[in-house]
Symmetry: C2
């Protein structure tokens, strides 16, 4: 490839020397040739025999054109023949063109006749690349033509893209059927098309100054994919983002910050209602076992803890400094933290970029860099890390331990996370506020939680990703081990507008987020409630071993709605094999429906639920169960719930571990039953046929992305 | 039009006589001509001058073809000239064709030369019609071409369609921008295209035996819309559904059934656990004030009420007979009800069509018809009508009065409705089980609730609509007065499969439901929870007077997510006028963001919420408010809630009545605050930025459909 790179470098140097911002068509062709991106073949013939040979080599039809510096208007001169279909025709056309040219201008200097591959037919597609502020180089693929421009049916991947990425793009557009050949048209050569995508993505990655590239159209046929036109835009001032910190470095610092030996509270206060007071109380009442050092210019002691004038006066090690002082004093105190070699600062104060003071924020970022202090915030509620009983926040203490780590860019959303977690008895390992993200970002958290043994799911709310590429790379790695769920706010243009007024961040095109999330194995939550429900439910479920989902329902009507949800959430209703069908029929009344859903009918006693669910769990062909419960006098809600939990435990003891979710239709007693089921490993919802299936769907999305299915 | 009808009738008679199932192209052309559906113009010229005149009249370009019974291969004979562009060319072509023909066959009998309008250019679209089992005649519109076939970008309306319906179809496809002219293409003539749609819809309505019709392609240009090809399929055995009962007749019967003077319980029982016992208890404990007549073959008295052997023995009037006897005895008892002239039977028993006994169901339908008894069910839980304190059901009694009338096809979903209603303190006017729908159907309920003063919203769960057309016509009328919300189960193919095993009903194409619901002003719920939340929230909200929605939020992060929801739910964030922006800025801190959302920031006291909401309610340019609350110590949840309710009441007293919804982010105390807000007219949700906006969106959808916006 080094020769290829040299060829491209030479072209780009010439463009730079010319102070141009785009390449000419011939320059574009050279670049494509260098990277093996197919463009129409061409050659110049000096004789009729040579024209026939060149044309035969490249394949018919061809276009033939006079090459003469003295003939500008080739068509007018009779110097062009299109659609030449055979060697004989090529010879004849050579002579015709030559004769026409001589007649047109007898003394014209004729350098030969150009023979060019003639494109057309097949499917017109677009392959391109753009440079995004957050994600950097992206490769794009879509269908050519007006409809696609209108329907915006295009898909993106981070560049460089792998062959698998490229192949997934062909299936990633709405009209993907087009590529399979329709109405007697031929299917495109997927390998050839994917190859073009990979090469484009490699080219723009090798030459970051190529900020925009369009192959439009590319003619994709069953044989090949050839770019009829290439447009390349360059920006020699483009600076790629600096490489993110090494993961080990991130993890080393985050481990100290999240599990500190000592915490300093800068601006600690004995006065009720002060943020520095709330932070102190939360540290104390939360049960944190490390050292607590209140920092205060005058006090000797705060809430029973010896106070210091500066962190520099503290004798012991401080890993985390929580700031509860006005914005203008932060930089100074931060420098003292630097001198004390504190690895992390939790910057609760607002009054920075979000409040029209970007210079204050720039100042603290500089101090942070100088002393290598990682900054969380500013403009945050702080964070909770339950394994260390650590509530480094001014919000209420939260202590229900569990395995979901949540973060939010916004304080309001953070409060919603806390309220929901408490209300739903959702244990968490951590809740982190990221606020202005002057330094610590979603990808830092991913790196920490990846190796945190107390965390088995990461759920993040964000409005922007300052370094989308670093996030995507971290997510791709982490999601192989633990589910990563993201709620991206500012999806819509109205939403994006609000985001920009809130954080000063420009939200990118949502389709890019959509595609990159998918490429990185991220489960995208569509709403706040969904983020929360996924965080709660996904870790509860075991990983399914296959795609066969079975519905067992007492209410036929729930079965229909659950089936709708199965399709909506990308799950597959198992095709019921006859022997299994017969086995289920043994347990249900004759007017019940086997097949899938298995409709046991509403009047059945608990044993019918027990028998069918036991069969569903023990048959190896079934991989996940969705239960539809109907409240009756014969099988009251808590009886159903206790029976299901028993069956689940009994079968687990025998080695049958499968995800089970449940939808409960009935009077208010079903709420208690749903709660009981959830606490015992069966995500269950009252009055909803969609939520349980959404949670199961999220688990499946993760398992597929992680290559476990 | 009667001449036109005669012309079509003549053609159809000929097709019927030939025992054909489709029309030839010339027959199709005659049919189109009769209904004024433009097809390419044509005429036969006997002279060069006439050819020029005919061509000039229809507009260039034209195609000219020899007309001779002796020349079969016109092209071979040099008898065709395409792309004739002027009168002079037409004259010349006439002579050329004639000369060629004579040369080809000197003795050929030449009848003239056909001049035909040449189509092409413009946009290729499809106009067609299909006949649906439930909805009857539907007219369809889509874009022509491969992509549309793949993307299934097509829209339906009930036929006959109005001009407005037809125009809405042009905007009802995904790629509707195509019709506005793209890439320098010309916009289509919307009137001309709509006219074709209306005429097709009229034709198939006038001639029900036309079961399928395709105009494909129609060339739509800025001038006209001309069908290049027509395909008509007929079925002379097609029987349109009988007309539905007159509304007055439905209402008269339903009024007696829902508010009976006397109720008979057929199969009443004194034994706990029996359905006939539960029904009796519910009638008694529910507080029903009319007469209760237990019917039992042997008992003299049941639960303190005099029992009768047959309804025929009852001295007083019976309006409603609730059946709690096995399926096989229903027909007999029903006949007795007929003789007693009881207008309605509530058939709780199962064991009919749903259990593989369609003959039992057919039998009771016959008895019902014979005696003109309306049948509810069979296979239902019964119904509740709270204004009459009537619980004609074996489920638990339910008595929270309100104004939402709900119904479900499935018993399980009915139980979910009851549970949710009780849990959410949602008052209802009625909950009705429809089950097998052997007779009483969703449209009967619509007719009743339309005129029921106790109902102001109708929410229905259905798996199929046996008579979709009757439903659509009723919904179109009723939705002008009261919101109609429908959850259609069996949307997806997997769901549809489950529906058919459940009720034996074939679920139609979901896109048809989608479009007809829209045409009928129905608000479609996407999930069970949404059906319930809409039923709860929509009646609480006053009708907005315009489209300007304003978000006022304490949490910037909620503002972004609420903005996303605004777009997702088809609402419009108001563009903030500068004077209003300035007015809001007076109340919020300098680092808050005015514009829309108005971000008052998190640290503000209650008065800031009060002032901004007061301004939002009093300024006439604002039509609806979405509140984003952030739980802080300065403004605790219940303080916020009480303040908001006070402001609302104060402003309502001044005549400012606008819909307000709220999203509450915070610790668990926000749940109580949300409850308080909801009970006081502000639909509010904890931990959700989407649910409040969905409810507001549903209200707007209804108001637009009802022509109130």
């Amino acid at each position: 490839m080094s020769n290829s790179k040299d060829a491209v470098r030479k072209i780009l140097d010439a463009v730079r020397a010319d102070k141009r911002t785009s390449l000419t068509a011939p320059e574009g062709k050279v670049v494509c040739d260098a990277y093996g991106i197919p463009v129409p073949k061409e050659g110049v013939a000096k004789s009729a025999a040579e024209a026939a040979r060149i044309a035969s080599d490249m394949g018919f039809p061809v276009v033939m054109k006079i090459v003469s510096p003295d003939i500008l208007h080739k068509t007018e001169a009779g110097g062009v023949v299109v659609g030449v279909k055979s060697a004989a025709e090529a010879e004849k056309s050579y002579e015709t063109i030559l004769a026409n040219a001589r007649k047109y201008k007898a003394d014209a200097k004729i350098e030969g006749i150009q023979v060019q591959q003639m494109l057309g037919g097949g499917t017109e597609v677009i392959v391109g690349s753009i440079t995004d502020g957050s994600f950097g180089k992206l490769v794009a693929f879509g269908l050519g033509g007006v409809l696609v421009e209108i329907l915006k049916d295009i898909t993106f991947r981070l560049a460089p893209a792998t062959k698998d990425d490229a192949l997934s793009m062909l299936d990633g557009i709405q009209a993907h059927e087009m590529l399979k050949g329709v109405r007697g048209g031929e299917a495109v050569n997927r390998e050839a098309l994917a190859d073009v995508i990979v090469k484009v993505s490699q080219l723009v990655s090798d030459f970051p100054e190529i900020v925009e590239l369009d192959l439009n159209p590319v003619f994709a046929t069953s044989k090949n994919a050839i770019a009829a036109d290439v447009r390349i835009v360059v920006d020699f001032n483009y600076k790629p983002r600096p490489a993110p910190r090494p993961t080990e470095e991130i993890v080393a610092a985050m481990n100290r910050i999240m599990q500190p030996k000592g915490v300093a509270v800068i601006g600690a206060s004995a006065e009720d209602g002060k943020i520095g007071n709330s932070v102190m109380k939360n540290l104390i009442n939360g049960g944190y076992k490390g050292e607590i050092y209140p920092i205060h210019p005058k006090a000797d002691e705060i809430l029973g803890y010896k106070a210091y004038k500066s962190v520099k006066d503290v004798p012991g090690v401080i890993d985390t400094a929580v700031f509860a002082i006005p914005a203008k004093f932060v930089a100074g105190a931060l420098a003292e933290c630097g001198e004390k070699k504190i690895p992390g600062a939790v910057l609760i104060p607002s009054g920075f970029a979000e409040a029209g003071a970007p210079e204050l924020q720039a100042e603290i970022v500089e101090v942070g860099k100088k002393y290598n202090i990682r900054l969380m915030g500013p403009n945050i509620y702080g964070f909770y890390y339950t394994p260390a009983n650590l509530c480094a926040t001014f919000c209420t203490a939260y202590d229900v331990k569990g395995h979901a780590a949540l973060s939010s860019q916004s304080g309001g959303i953070g409060m919603a996370i806390i309220g929901f977690s408490r209300s739903a008895k959702m244990g968490v390992s951590a809740i982190v506020g990221l606020g202005n993200k002057s330094d610590i970002d979603e990808d830092d958290l991913l790196a920490f939680f990846e190796q945190d043994p107390n965390t088995n799911l990461i759920a993040q709310h964000c409005e922007d990703l300052k370094d989308g590429r670093a996030f995507a790379e971290a997510a791709k790695r982490v999601s192989k081990k633990k589910p990563v769920v993201v709620l991206k706010a500012g999806r819509t243009s109205a939403g994006a507008k609000a985001a920009s007024s809130h954080t000063g961040a420009l939200a990118g095109n949502d389709k890019i987020y959509e595609d990159v999330f998918k490429q990185s194995g991220v489960i995208r939550a569509r709403s706040l409630r969904q983020l929360l429900e996924f965080a709660r439910g996904v870790p509860v479920l075991p990983t399914p071993k296959g795609e066969n989902v079975l519905i067992i329902t007492g209410a036929g009507g729930s079965g229909v709605l659950l089936s709708d949800s199965v399709v909506d959430n990308g799950l597959s209703l198992m095709q019921m094999p006859p022997d299994l069908d017969a086995a289920f029929r043994k347990f249900i009344p004759p007017f019940g429906a086997a097949g899938n859903p298995v409709d046991i009918t509403g009047g059945e006693p608990p044993i019918t639920y027990v028998n069918t669910v036991k069969l569903g769990l023990s048959d190896e062909r079934i991989h996940a169960l969705i239960l539809g419960y109907w409240h009756t006098i014969v099988t009251p809600p808590m009886v159903f719930a206790r029976n299901m939990v028993e069956v689940k435990k009994e079968m687990e003891a025998k080695g049958f571990v499968k995800p089970i979710v449940a939808s409960l239709a009935g009077d208010v007693e079903v709420e208690e039953a749903a709660e009981y089921l959830y606490q015992n490993g069966i995500p269950a919802y009252a009055y909803s046929t969609e939520l349980p299936v959404e949670v199961l769907g999220a688990k499946y999305k993760w398992a597929r992305g992680a290559g476990l299915l």
